[in-house]
């Protein structure tokens, strides 16, 4: 038994709190969670049943916390957790779970299965059982500042284009600005139109904002791989930058897990509340619109639907703002059958998109979204997560589907009445 494995088991043991104990005590193995997981519904493979993915955690809990487990262990009838358990479960824990949280919504005894899988990753990553792609992304995030290797120079280059295209000055390291805006690497590299849209909308609304040269990256690979230290370090950089600039709010961008990381897990990772508040870009846009600070004109008559990013909606609680905003610019907005907190994941969340090994399974799991779109018959899908957007576009491309994926913020910017609104 290696020392690294023992450390992983110790970390796993540390995750077993009252919440997890109650979950493991309550589970009656009904398997209903399987029907909520796209990896099961699209493959019919029982191994992808969400609660089955927590088996290593359950085994540890049973052996160390239950009467039968302790008795079985002492009689040699139950083997303790071994490295082969970690090796056997690594793909189930990382490749076949996007941490979307859908299983947690259907469990009859209320188990938050996603929370347990997220916690299992803590032990697995310490023990060294994590996908190479995610390990490398985390390493780049810690050393370079971005999982995609984006540096602030790359950001500056992107911002120069935005400034040229919009004629607007993008504020950098503006002391005491009201809002500090974060971006995901994917937005910087693949969707700079998002940055352009933000600049236009904030200018029109008269928002006092800034970008920090010290912490522009919103994504957090530490959360996805389950490395608490890495996650805390990445959140800590944002907190340090925001507090040194004296901003009132940090704006989380169109990125699902970034919101979970900075809004919900961040204070717990660094062990204290922030001196600022975190707001999701959709919440902010909805607020600005409600206050009359941004005015939108014209309505799109193209039939549209909304793909809810799991971490923003189901796991983040930003449920109504995207709907309010989309209704304000789309005449024919139709919801998919399963939407809002019961949406189906794109298949690439929770680090799956950074895990090359999982690609085949991820593409297979896209069949669910394909089915949803075909059932609805709508060819324009609006979303608010750059990772979802890439994954959806890849899936659509794979199936040669004629469906356009657009960003909600970008769509709003297209309908923006230009000219500043008084504060």
């Amino acid at each position: 038994m290696s020392e690294q494995f023992e450390q992983g088991v110790a970390v796993l043991r540390d995750q077993i709190d009252a919440r997890i104990s109650s979950y493991l005590s309550s589970c009656v193995h009904c398997g209903i969670c399987a029907e909520a997981c796209l990896f099961y519904t699209e493959t019919n493979d029982p191994r992808y049943t969400p609660i089955h993915k927590v088996e290593p955690l359950k085994k540890l809990w049973q052996v160390e916390n239950t009467f039968w487990g302790k008795l079985g262990k002492s009689l040699g009838l139950i083997k303790p957790l071994t490295e082969s358990d970690f090796a056997d479960w690594e793909q189930l824990v990382y490749d076949s779970c996007t941490l979307c949280g859908r299983c947690s919504m259907v469990c009859p005894v209320g188990n938050d299965i996603t929370y347990m899988i997220r916690k299992i990753r803590e032990g697995f990553s310490v023990a060294g059982y994590a996908p190479d792609g995610m390990k490398e992304a985390t390493k780049r995030a810690l050393t370079i500042g971005s999982p995609m290797g984006v540096t602030f120079k790359t950001v500056q280059a992107a911002l120069a284009h935005v400034e040229k295209d919009t004629g607007l000055k993008i504020p950098i390291d503006q002391q005491n600005a009201e809002y500090m805006t974060l971006f995901s690497s994917m937005e910087i590299v693949n969707f700079p139109e998002y940055i352009e849209s933000i600049a236009k909308i904030f200018d029109a609304a008269g928002v006092s904002w800034t970008i920090s040269s010290q912490a522009f990256e919103a994504t957090n690979s530490g959360i996805q791989i389950g490395n608490k230290e890495a996650a805390a370090e990445l959140v800590g950089r944002v907190v340090k930058a925001a507090e040194s600039l004296g901003v009132k709010y940090v704006v989380s961008p169109e990125c699902g897990h970034a919101y979970t990381a900075i809004r919900w897990e961040g204070p717990n990772l660094i062990g204290r509340p922030y001196d600022f508040e975190v707001v999701h870009i959709l919440e902010l846009l909805d607020k600005l619109k409600a206050e009359g600070r941004i005015k939108l004109e014209g309505k799109d008559d193209t039939p549209m639907t909304l793909h809810d990013p799991c971490q923003i909606v189901r796991r983040g609680g930003v449920v109504d703002p995207p709907r309010n905003l989309l209704h304000s610019v789309a005449d024919h907005f139709t919801e998919m059958t399963d939407h809002g907190v019961m949406n189906w994941c794109c298949g690439g969340g929770g680090g799956v998109s950074a895990n090359e090994r999982a690609e085949e399974l991820r593409i297979k799991s896209f069949d669910r979204k394909k089915h949803q779109l075909e059932e609805l018959g709508v060819n324009t899908m609006v979303t608010a997560c750059a990772n979802c957007r890439i994954i959806l576009e890849e899936g659509l491309e794979h199936h040669e589907m004629d469906t356009e994926v657009i960003s909600l913020t970008e769509l709003l910017a297209e309908h923006l009445v230009s000219g500043k609104t008084p504060n």
Partner: protein, 213 residues
């Protein structure tokens, strides 16, 4: 002789083991503690917990078709069992005499029979699903089967003893109920109590985020 033991000391022992065991299990779960959440709440944890405790009695639409058999069988079994356990005249009399000193109205005999039939059918369907469905077959362990079989035997002997004409049948039923009570705190049967906690913890977390779970 053995009858007196089942009717006397073993009953009090099993009841004590059940009560102490259940309390011990619940206390040990609570004592494991939950780290305080330092993020700023959007909604109420308390309301979220209360909501989830009750809302999970109703299944999400997304699983109602695919899990129809389990859901219907689950309701049949649990509702039927609750009626049998707490509203059958012999049980009310027994509880009043041995524990509470208080009695309450029983359901008519025909309701008892219907409840028993529903409960048996539900339990058998759930168990068949457990052993035949690839997902539940993969998940199920010895504890799940022991729990199911014990409940089945307690119910079966209870029905056989219904006429109360044969003391031996009543004693077999009581003996199995006592085994059930002793086994209960060490098993998944604990979900009858801990479901409130698991639903509550999840509901509280989601309630803070402003999500109705």
């Amino acid at each position: 002789m053995i009858g007196e033991f089942i009717d006397g000391p073993l009953w009090y022992f099993s009841l004590t083991a059940f009560v102490i065991g259940v309390v011990w299990r619940i206390v040990s779960i609570v004592r494991a503690g939950v780290r305080p959440d330092l993020s700023i709440a959007r909604g109420s944890a308390g309301r979220g917990a209360m909501r989830a405790i009750f809302s999970r009695f109703v299944p999400e639409r997304t699983v109602t078709t695919s899990s129809r058999l389990q859901l219907i069988a689950g309701y049949m079994f649990h509702v039927g069992l609750l009626i049998l356990l707490f509203f059958a005249q012999p049980h009310i009399d027994f509880i009043a005499e041995r524990i509470t000193g208080l009695s309450w109205p029983a359901v008519p005999h025909w309701v008892f029979i219907v409840a028993a039939e529903f409960s048996f059918a539900g339990l058998i369907l759930l168990w068949l699903h457990r052993v035949l469905n690839p997902v539940t077959r993969l998940l199920s362990d010895m504890d799940d089967h022991i729990g199911s079989i014990l409940v089945f035997l307690v119910m079966l002997t209870g029905c056989l003893a219904l006429a109360q004409s044969h003391e031996a049948l009543r004693l077999i039923h009581l003996f199995l109920a006592e085994v059930f009570l002793i086994y209960f705190p060490f098993s998944k049967l604990m979900h009858a109590f801990t479901f409130v906690m698991s639903r509550g913890y999840t509901g509280a977390t989601m309630g803070r985020k402003g999500v109705n779970a």
